[in-house]
Amino acid sequence: MNGVVEGGWGYVIAAYALSWGTWVAYLLLLKVRSRS
């Protein structure tokens, strides 16, 4: 182990997917609100 955190790819992918998903969703929301 040598004190290094093992694994963790799942958490990393989840964080990136959630963040990019939120940014795109917020962008789309702003676009929809600007049209209404």
Binding site: V5, Y11, V12, A15, T22, W23, Y26, L27, R33
Partner: protein
């Protein structure tokens, strides 16, 4: 094409390249392993959140100084974007904390002051919904924004001031170039993303405030129909 579309497109492209590099090319962090790859996401998001709150603070000063609705729209838009970024920051931090600290959340000084910051700025948006008179709303939310902003430097310095589980402020000199470059590029790209989001949201806020201005020309209550002059 509006400047926000260009800045947003450019910003997302730059951040995307930096993230791809950080995920697939940069080496894993010496102690944190693969979870250290959150660095390229988490820190730029934190800067974006705090940067947005700084813009809101400047807007609030502008409101108190001039009373102009352009500044008021800037407060509304920057606070909203700051909250989106800061909530994301908290979720990212939680996803990082679970494999490294063994917990999703702990009342560490950095985490606690960040939570206070998010709640305080969310209060600004709630206040804007509760106060209907435009001038009073602008003044009240400007004062609340300035008061909320007092916590932002505390968030930044919390890891210096108190014993914290959270990482201290990093020294760029100790970071490998292959890690430093995508990190700095992601931070640079997020500046454009943030500017684009605040700009787009500012347009929305301005159009709503202008509609409100036009509506304020109407009488406070419907004027009763007069029957005078009828045969």
């Amino acid at each position: 094409m509006k400047w926000e579309a260009i800045a947003g497109g450019l910003g997302f492209a730059v951040v995307g390249v930096a993230h791809a590099f950080g995920l697939f090319v940069a080496p894993s962090e010496a102690a944190m392993g693969e979870t250290g790859r959150m660095l390229y996401l988490h820190v730029p998001t934190a800067w974006a959140g705090m940067g947005s709150f700084l813009v809101a603070f400047v807007g609030a000063i502008g409101v108190l100084w001039t009373g102009g609705k352009r500044w008021d729209a800037l407060v509304e838009s920057a606070v909203e974007v700051g909250i989106v970024m800061s909530v994301l920051l908290t979720v990212q931090g939680s996803l990082w904390a679970r494999p490294t600290w063994g917990t999703w959340w702990t009342w560490d000084p950095r985490l606690t002051t960040t939570a206070v910051m998010v709640v305080a700025f969310a209060g600004v948006l709630v206040l804007r919904h509760l106060v209907h008179r435009p001038e009073r709303r602008a003044m009240a939310s400007a004062v609340a924004t300035i008061a909320s902003f007092a916590d932002v430097p505390v968030v930044y310095l919390s890891v210096k001031w108190w014993r914290s589980l959270h990482q201290p402020i990093s020294n760029a000199g100790t970071v490998d170039t292959l890690m430093l470059v995508p990190f700095l590029v992601a931070c640079f790209g997020m500046l454009f993303v943030c500017a684009a989001l605040i700009g787009s949201r500012w347009r929305l806020a301005m159009s709503r405030l202008e509609r409100e201005d036009r509506a304020s020309d109407l009488p406070d209550r419907p004027v009763p129909l007069s029957l005078e002059g009828r045969p």
